[in-house]
């Protein structure tokens, strides 16, 4: 895994709240409970496999004793091969079974963890799909994606491997301890010294290194951000001859990063040798004391052999558990982010008696509508207007003045703070969202195409459309000829972000899509602002086709395109400052006039 500290920061719209570890863990457990039977099976397998593995050293020790001729009647004579053979076979059996069970366990855990991830991702995605548009607007897409993929992944690696590992370690730990006690309680006393020593050492080192590791991820993140930013802006750096200056800045950061890596490693790399030291001290102590006991016949060679092997199994898990503890921490943090997303409110359901809007005429009216994206910041104040069936309403104004807001309200992507929106005389909030939205067809500034064939993209809104209808729509949008010039025609797959077709062509495709939607109302949000003039000439024809006989709401950049609107709303800083037809507004000599004249100054 590359350092992911550079991943989109986990910003959410809200202030970061403290992680409630206990609640998160409980909720995670509840989530896991969906798979309780599989988990139980895994538990049984873990216990059995690890216990079987623990039998091995004991059998080996017994075999050594027989070989050494100790504890048997025929001491001194030849080795009792029959007895050794039996033990060897038993060992083989125990190990084989243990490995087989381990394999089954791994397969099982893979399946459990995949199912948990799958379920979790699906839950997240479904939740996200049902959320209001506002949530997506206010959260970085990268952040949401990283929750659906990386956070779920982190949780699962931890759940599937770490839990099994902790369990296995615990069994090894206690099993070995019991075994050692049965072999020689006296020798086991050594561990009264060893256990506290190893716990002390591990915690000491971890405490020292953890802040250093945090610092190092932070520094690495800074470096990655820097590199990304500057490499993306390379042409600018070249144009201003800032190469050496930038390299100098990188050097400063690089120095800090390398240094923070060194610092953290300076301490963390003592961990391995320290654990080995503890193992070796254990071995030394066992050697001395077992030798003393062996001298007096207090212990057999085989017992020493088993004991040493168990002692090795004993010290390993202590370190492992310490490692896993750290991983669990990050899993909890990830789970918290996932649950936070699952807790976000979805769009409230339509009320039970909501009316399904059918065959709308297209009379739209706003009455005293006020709205703000944030509670205390009103973007639209007390707005009223009527748009009769078949009329063209234009919304103009400088960038950032709140033009798009109006469309957000018409489509009920956001709900008004106060006031009413009427649709054919009915309150829009009494209609089902789906039927209200279906009454509109929409072309936005961002041409949205998905990875699929051109045909699927045009027919997106109406999968039941016939081939003929799709082609007719494409012809009306003046894109049919282009599509036919492609090698695969309508079956051409649009690759990531539609790089194989130009922006203007993408725009025409979305217009074709809108043409297929049989709606009485139309929304055009700066639909042609990114298109060059040549293409716009062509789009204009398609647009006129599309707008015919519909109630149209047009957000426009170029004022020349909306001169024949029935009503022009001039928006400035959230207020509709002027309204009227082009002629009326020009005669007013106000802001509209200023904007209009600025084009020719």
């Amino acid at each position: 895994m590359p350092p992911r500290s550079d991943a989109p920061g986990h910003r959410s719209g809200k202030a970061t709240r403290p992680v409630n570890k206990k609640a998160t863990v409980l909720r995670l457990l509840k989530y896991m409970m969906q798979f309780k039977w599989l988990l139980l099976l895994a538990l049984i397998l873990t216990v059995t496999a690890n216990t079987l593995a623990l039998v091995g050293p004991r059998l080996a020790g017994d075999a050594v004793d027989i070989i050494a001729g100790e504890g048997t009647e025929n001491a001194g004579s030849g080795v009792d091969f029959a007895a050794v053979g039996r033990l060897v076979l038993l060992m083989l059996g125990a190990y084989l079974l243990s490995s087989a069970l381990n394999y089954v366990l791994q397969l099982l855990m893979v399946r459990i963890s995949r199912r948990v991830t799958m379920r979790m991702r699906e839950d997240l995605f479904n939740r996200l799909s049902d959320m209001p548009v506002g949530f997506v607007d206010h959260n970085a897409i990268g952040d949401l994606i990283s929750r659906i993929f990386y956070d779920t992944d982190t949780i699962n690696t931890s759940l599937s491997s770490d839990i099994v590992n902790v369990l296995a370690s615990l069994i090894s730990l206690t099993g070995s301890f019991i075994m050692m006690l049965t072999i020689s309680p006296k020798l086991t006393v050594i561990f009264l010294v060893i256990i506290p020593l190893s716990i002390l050492l591990t915690t000491l080192i971890t405490r020292k290194t953890q802040p250093l590791f945090r610092k190092r991820s932070k520094k690495m993140g800074e470096l990655n951000d820097f590199a990304e930013e500057r490499i993306s802006g390379l042409k600018t750096l070249k144009a201003y001859r800032r190469e050496d200056y930038t390299i100098g800045k990188l050097d400063e950061l690089n120095e800090e990063v390398c240094d923070s890596y060194y610092r953290s490693e300076y301490y963390s790399s003592t961990m391995g040798p320290s654990v080995n030291l503890i193992n070796n001290i254990t071995l030394s102590l066992i050697s001395v004391f077992s030798a003393l006991m062996y001298m007096n016949g207090g212990i057999t060679l085989g017992n020493i052999s088993s004991f040493v092997q168990y002692s090795r199994k004993f010290s390993g898990p202590i370190r492992e558990i310490a490692d896993i503890y750290g991983e669990l921490q990050s899993a909890i943090a990830a789970a918290d982010r996932v649950f936070q997303l699952l807790d976000e409110p979805v769009e409230p359901a339509d009320s039970v008696d909501a009316i399904i809007l059918s065959d709308p005429k297209g009379d739209v009216e706003m009455q005293h509508v006020s709205f703000g994206y944030e509670k205390d910041k009103t973007v639209l104040k007390d707005l009223s207007f009527t748009a009769g069936s078949g009329k063209l309403i234009a919304i103009v104004g400088p960038t950032g003045a709140g033009k798009t807001t109006l469309i957000n309200l018409l489509m009920r992507f956001y709900d008004v703070n106060s006031g009413k929106i009427l649709m054919d005389g009915m309150n829009a909030y009494d209609l089902t969202r789906a039927s209200l939205r279906k009454a509109y067809s929409m072309v936005l500034q961002d041409t949205w195409l998905f990875s699929g064939t051109i045909y699927d993209n045009i027919a997106y809104a109406r999968p039941d459309a016939t081939r003929q209808q799709v082609e007719d729509a494409a012809k009306a949008a003046h894109i049919h000829t282009f599509i036919m010039s492609l090698k695969d025609g309508y079956d051409t797959v649009i690759t990531d972000d539609g790089t194989n077709i130009s922006k203007g062509q993408k725009q025409l495709l979305t217009i074709a899509r809108a043409m297929l939607v049989d709606a009485n109302m139309l929304i055009l949000d700066e639909a042609t602002s990114n298109v060059d003039t040549r293409t716009e000439v062509r789009i204009q024809k398609a647009m006129r086709e599309l707008m015919r006989n519909k109630t149209c709401f047009v957000v426009a950049h170029r004022l020349s395109t909306i001169r024949n609107a029935d009503l022009i709303l001039v928006v400035r800083d959230g207020d509709v400052v002027e309204r009227g037809t082009h002629e009326q507004l020009m005669n007013m000599n106000g802001f509209y006039r200023e904007l209009y004249d600025a084009q020719f100054s």
Partner: protein, 577 residues
């Protein structure tokens, strides 16, 4: 790999020192099991005769060895960390410096995202490996080889059991990885698809909701989600064979030692206590083997990364004529002489472009997207060299002007130009050593000072990629950067498209008042932005289809007239009359 070696070579002495320490530490550790056997077989009989004191002495020896082993290993690890630090620092510096000096053509070839990932992820993998190799990569082979030597000395027959097992383990790991890695590629492809769907859904949420396609999208996601899960299950199941098999082989070794050991004890070829040592050595060695397989995976990853870095290191750098030519100033200021250029060396992106600008003149370039407008200025800045024809400044071919001298003449705003994380002043000056007054004047001319003062003036905090700025603010920020150096030549590529007409008019006014003798090239979509220029170059699909003033072009150039009518409408004609 050569690349990595090149970067660690300067630290060979330190590495050698580290290795000696690592070697000493590891060998000492290897002796411990042997010491146990020695105590049990040789010391115990002596102690029986002489008393227990001698056992304590040998125990003390073991303890001392344990501590020495730790000491040496820690010292070696720290030296390894310092080598990794220093070599990575040098590598990263050189790579970044190289990237900065690459020709634009090379940057296009590698692509920006790929250069970024080479700079971040790949250097990280190389770093991790240089450290890991010195720490574990060296220790594990010593354990294996040293272990084999010690066991060979003690009992060559038992030791050969080990030699038989090792190839099996190696083969097993190789086989499983070979099967597993392609499976993981499938997983990656599926994950990419899934991410794409999520991205599409988030960016298209308005359309999806408007068309009530939410449920269909859920189904689409669900389908690929299960594909991801099942491909992952398949790959992980394959890899799951690995560890139980290794575990089993390891334990097989122990069983074999006992069985063969029994035979040899029976024939008086070895002693029972030796079997104890062997059981330990086997565990030690086979564990080391497992470590080696892990290191190999990491090694192959790092080598792949090193190769990717090396590709960049081999890239072509911008060349600059060495001699600082003191060029004479012959008129005109800027001249394009039949310039033709193609990015891919097939279809030209700019064909036969010619124009001349006098000092202080303004040139507007207008045309549809993809017409070659931006290419013209990239050629002028010598980000690319022309294929045919020549470009000259003050009568000197720009290929003969040192890059520093050449580019110092310009103030540039590119299309979608970069704003960097940091203070506003930092973004404006870019370390050019401009005074505060110069920057503030630049920002004023660029109509940026008002919003900048609100945000804190030159100290205003600018987020990465200018995320805390609106489109219009970003453009004004960039304009401030271009204007505050008071350049001889100003290049503005689509630099005011996000400004409303009023602000744009103010900007134009500031340019005429304070930058009157600056030769300017303006690229725009809006005709209103270029119609007042001294000359307007109209381009279409790489060709020049008109050059002249607004009035001339209205008469002579069909495309220009078409654009003018569309954007300005009939109203304009009326206003002119």
């Amino acid at each position: 790999m050569k690349l990595i070696l090149r970067y660690i070579r300067p630290f060979m002495k330190r590495i050698a020192g580290g290795m000696v320490m690592k070697f000493t530490g590891t060998v000492i550790e290897l002796f411990l099991p042997w010491l146990l056997t020695y105590i049990l077989t040789a010391i115990v009989p002596r102690a029986r005769a002489e008393g227990a004191g001698i056992v304590y002495i040998w125990g003390g020896v073991m303890l001392v060895c344990s501590f020495l082993a730790m000491l040496f290993n820690i010292l070696a690890n720290r030296s390894a960390a310092s080598v990794a630090r220093d070599s990575t620092r040098d590598l990263r510096h050189d790579l970044f410096a190289k990237i900065c000096r690459l020709t634009s053509r090379e940057i296009d070839r590698f692509t920006t995202p790929s250069l970024i990932s080479r700079m971040t992820t790949d250097t990280y993998y190389v770093y991790r490996m240089t450290g890991m190799m010195q720490r574990i990569g060296f220790r594990a082979p010593i354990l294996v080889i040293g272990g084999i030597i010690i066991t060979m000395i003690q009992d060559s027959v038992l030791s050969s059991l080990l030699l038989i097992l090792l190839p099996f383990m190696g083969l097993g790991v190789w086989f499983i990885s070979k099967k597993g890695i392609p499976l993981y590629n499938t997983v990656q492809n599926n994950v990419d698809k899934l991410i794409r769907i999520v991205r599409e859904n988030l960016s298209g949420i308005r359309i999806i909701k408007a068309l009530s396609k939410t449920e269909d999208e859920k189904k689409r996601f669900s389908g690929i989600n299960s594909a991801v899960a099942s491909s992952e299950t398949k790959a992980a199941s394959m890899m799951a064979i690995n560890s139980p098999t290794m575990q089993f082989l390891l334990n097989m070794g122990l069983v074999l030692v006992i069985w063969v050991g029994a035979r040899r004890v029976d024939s008086d070829l070895t002693e029972p206590a030796r079997i104890i040592a062997f059981l330990q050595y086997f565990t030690l060695i086979l564990n080391a083997m497992l470590t080696i397989t892990r290191v190999i995976t990491m090694y192959s990853k790092a080598v792949a990364s090193a190769n990717r870095i090396d590709e960049v290191m081999q890239g072509e750098e911008e060349s600059s004529p060495a001699a600082a030519c003191a060029f004479e100033q012959k008129l005109p200021h800027i001249c394009f002489d039949h310039v033709t250029f193609s990015y891919n060396k097939r279809a030209p992106n700019v064909r036969d472009v010619s124009f001349c600008l006098m000092k202080g003149q303004k040139l507007g370039i207008l045309g549809p997207t993809g017409a070659g407008k931006s290419t013209v200025i990239k050629l002028l800045l010598r980000l690319y060299d022309t294929d045919e024809g020549s470009i000259s400044i003050w009568g000197n071919d720009i290929r003969n002007i040192p890059l520093d001298t050449l580019r110092d003449m310009f103030g540039v705003v590119f299309q979608n130009d970069a704003v960097f994380h940091g203070a506003a002043g930092e973004n404006i000056s870019l370390g050019r050593g401009l005074t505060d007054d110069e920057m503030i004047q630049g920002a004023r001319d660029a109509q940026a000072w008002d919003f900048l003062t609100e945000k804190g003036g030159l100290d205003a905090d600018i987020a990465s990629r200018g995320q805390n700025l609106s489109g219009g603010q970003m453009q004004r920020m960039l304009l401030s950067r271009a204007l505050s150096g008071h350049p001889d030549i100003l290049i503005l590529d689509d630099a005011s498209s996000a400004l409303d007409f009023k602000t744009e008019a103010n900007l134009r006014k500031a340019l005429t008042e304070h930058h009157a003798d600056t030769t300017t090239i303006l690229i725009a979509q809006r005709i209103s932005a270029v119609m007042h220029c001294d000359q307007i170059l109209v381009m279409d699909d790489g060709d020049v289809c008109g050059l002249g003033t607004h009035e001339e072009l209205m008469k002579s150039c069909d495309l220009y007239r078409e654009i003018a009518q569309l954007q300005l409408g009939g109203e304009y004609d009326a206003a002119q009359k």
